[in-house]
Symmetry: C2
Subunit: 147 residues, 2 copies
């Protein structure tokens, strides 16, 4: 098993950080167009130019922790868990991120690791400036179609 | 043991990508002020506002692979390996990055994972536009002193 780890510190009320991850409108503002039910046990769909990533919300504790478990037809992402833990500090909210339970540490994992950093900085911008860089306005990290 | 993985694709001649990682002038352009001997077996120092990260160059294969092993007094970084593998493709050079052999997956690892993504995108900019964002001009990922 292999895991991607990231951490960003965001200067925003913890409730705003939580809502940016726990609502479809929020996630649409920094990752990609999102629909579905973000409550625990609900199903969410993330749309990338017609390709849908489907997850089940396997944990949603307000102000604390959100976890999505990937389903659908997702190849290397299948059954991986995408986790956001929030830690309120004096001057910021730390977002401790994991994309866990990859079966192997592949080049796809390395690609997604860099890309998650890009999107977590988009989450930070979305909350601190009001403007994120969700797909397809995200920063490109290579020169292939899958960038 | 835990490992940070990243991958960026850079549109530049492979020799330029290699030199950006294998020379002190190169690393100074995208990570931080670097001095020392970048040949295999040499010692390098990376300066962050007076704090020096000291490494030994444990591999340097031109156009292929560079590895630094962290020494000095580096706490969680001690004995970790920072590795850059270059893969020349038709339209770009893929840089497969690992920061390997962390003893534990701590919050420091998560912080450094996000920060390495920032610096690898700085490497990409340095090679594609001529202007990187080395320390202290790097993108900040939180609101502490160690950002």
């Amino acid at each position: 098993m292999a895991t991607i780890y990231h951490q960003v510190g965001i200067k925003a009320p913890i409730n705003d950080v939580y809502n940016a991850i726990a609502t479809t409108e929020g996630v649409t503002g920094w990752w990609t167009k999102t629909s579905g039910n973000p409550e625990t046990g609900g199903d969410l769909e993330f749309s990338f130019d017609g390709h849908l990533v489907k997850v089940k919300v396997t944990a949603n504790t307000p102000g604390k922790y959100i976890e999505w478990t990937v389903g659908g037809n997702e190849g290397e992402w299948l059954n991986t868990r995408i986790c956001f833990e929030l830690d309120e500090q004096e001057h910021q909210v730390m977002v401790n991120f994991e994309h866990a339970d990859w079966r192997q540490a592949t080049q796809m994992l390395a690609h997604c690791s860099t890309k998650w950093a890009v999107f977590l900085l988009s989450l930070k911008d979305y909350l601190e400036t009001g403007i994120g860089k969700p797909f397809p306005h995200d920063i490109h990290i290579n020169h292939t179609v899958f960038n």
